[in-house]
Symmetry: C2
Subunit: 214 residues, 2 copies
C-alpha cells in the first residue's frame, strides 16, 4: 500500500494493515490458527486468489505472518501469525465490537461461517457468574454449528456439535448473535425465529461487553 506519509502511529498502522482484505486475513489466522492457503481462501469468501497470495507475501514481509512447511506426510505450506501478528488481536477486537451495531440486518448474499459466530462470545461477552458450574451451550445458526463452554470464569468456544449441551440456541444468525451480544432480548430473538431449548437461565450468565468496559 502507498504510505500515508504521516508521522502518526495510526497512519503508520494503516500503512501496514490498512489494505483491503489484510485485516480479514489476520482475522482468519487468528480464528483458525496455522492453516493452508485453501483454508484461508475458504474462510474469506469473495477474495481473489492473487490478492490472497499478494497479501500473504506482504504480511510475511511485515513480519506478521510466518510461512512454514508442514511436517510430513502433509507436505504443504502452513500460514500462521507471528508473535507480532498476534498483537493485532486488540485491533480486531475493537473493530469487531464497533461493527456489532451493523449486524442487526441480514443481507441475502452475505456469507456466514461458524467461526465468525464462535468468536462473538469470547470477544463480546463475559461470564456474569464466574464461580458458577460449568455449562455448555450449543449454537445453531443457518446450519453453522458452534459450542460455548462456560467454566472457571472463562468463555471458550469451538466449532461443531456438543455431546450434551445444557442449552441449545437455534435460529437465524442475527437472532443468535443479537441474543449473545445483548442487542436483543430473548422475546425479540424468538420473534425472529430463535428457539431456546434447555436451561434458559444460562443466558443470564452471558454478560455483553460494552465499549466502555473494553
Amino acid at each position: 500500500m502507498r504510505s500515508y506519509g504521516q508521522y502518526c502511529s495510526v497512519a503508520r498502522a494503516l500503512d501496514v494493515v490498512g489494505d483491503r482484505w489484510t485485516l480479514l486475513i489476520v482475522r482468519e489466522l487468528l480464528l483458525q490458527g496455522p492453516c493452508r492457503f485453501t483454508d484461508l481462501k475458504n474462510g474469506l469468501p469473495g477474495i481473489a486468489t492473487n490478492l490472497l497470495s499478494t497479501r500473504l507475501k506482504e504480511l510475511e514481509d511485515a513480519g506478521l505472518v510466518a510461512r512454514d512447511d508442514a511436517p510430513p506426510p502433509v507436505a504443504t505450506v502452513l500460514y500462521s501469525l507471528t508473535e507480532r501478528g498476534l498483537t493485532l488481536e486488540p485491533v480486531l477486537h475493537a473493530l469487531g465490537l464497533w461493527g456489532l451495531q451493523y449486524m442487526t440486518d441480514e443481507r441475502p448474499g452475505d456469507a456466514f461461517q461458524a467461526r465468525w459466530l464462535a468468536y462473538a462470545p469470547t470477544w463480546f461477552t463475559t461470564d456474569a457468574d464466574p464461580d458458577g458450574p460449568p455449562a455448555v451451550i450449543q449454537l445453531v445458526a443457518a446450519g453453522e454449528l458452534a459450542v460455548i463452554e462456560l467454566g472457571d470464569g472463562q468463555i471458550r468456544t469451538t466449532i461443531g456439535r456438543a455431546a450434551e449441551p445444557d442449552l441449545v440456541l437455534d435460529g437465524p444468525p442475527r437472532a443468535v448473535l443479537g441474543l449473545l451480544t445483548g442487542a436483543m432480548d430473548l422475546k425479540r430473538a424468538m420473534r425472529l425465529g430463535l428457539s431456546a431449548t434447555g436451561h434458559r437461565q444460562l443466558l443470564t450468565r452471558l454478560r455483553p461487553v460494552t465499549a466502555a468496559a473494553a
Copy 2:
C-alpha cells in the same frame, strides 16, 4: 466501498470505515473537534480534495459525521463527529497503540503535526502518581508545540506553548515520542538529540500503557 459480503462484525465494520483515508479523517475530527473542510485538508497532508469531499459525504450518510452551518458571522460549514462517530475512538486507540512499534524511525518525507504528538500522552500513558501535584510539561518536536498537563490523575494535552512548564522536552519527534511511550529511556532519547530541561523526575509519572492493559 464495496462490501465484503460477510456476516461478521469485523467485516461489516470495515465495510463502513475500511476505505482509504476514512479512519484518518475520523482521527482529525476526534483531535480537532468541529472544523472546516480546509482544516481537515491541512490535517491530512496528501489527501486529494475530491477524496476528502467524497469521504465526508460517505461518513455523513453512515451517520458518523454531521455537517452543520457555522453560526454567523462565520458563514461556513463545520464537520464534526456524531455520537456514533465518537464511538470509533477505541478503534483508533487500538490501532494507534499497535502502530507505535512503527514509529521508531523517521522517514524524511513524512509530515508531522503537533496534534499527532499531543494525542500520544492521553492515549498511551497514564499518571503513575495520580495523587501527585499538578505539573506541566512542554513538548517541542520539529518545531511543533504541545503541552501535557498532569493533575487529578488525568493527563490532558493541548497544542501550543505553556507559560511556566515544569519540564521542557525538546528534540526530534521519535525521541520525544519514544520517551513518552516508554519505547526508549532518557539516555537513549538524549543520544538522539533530546534535551530535557527542568524537573526530570516528572518523567517517572508517565507510565506507558501496554497492549495488555488497554
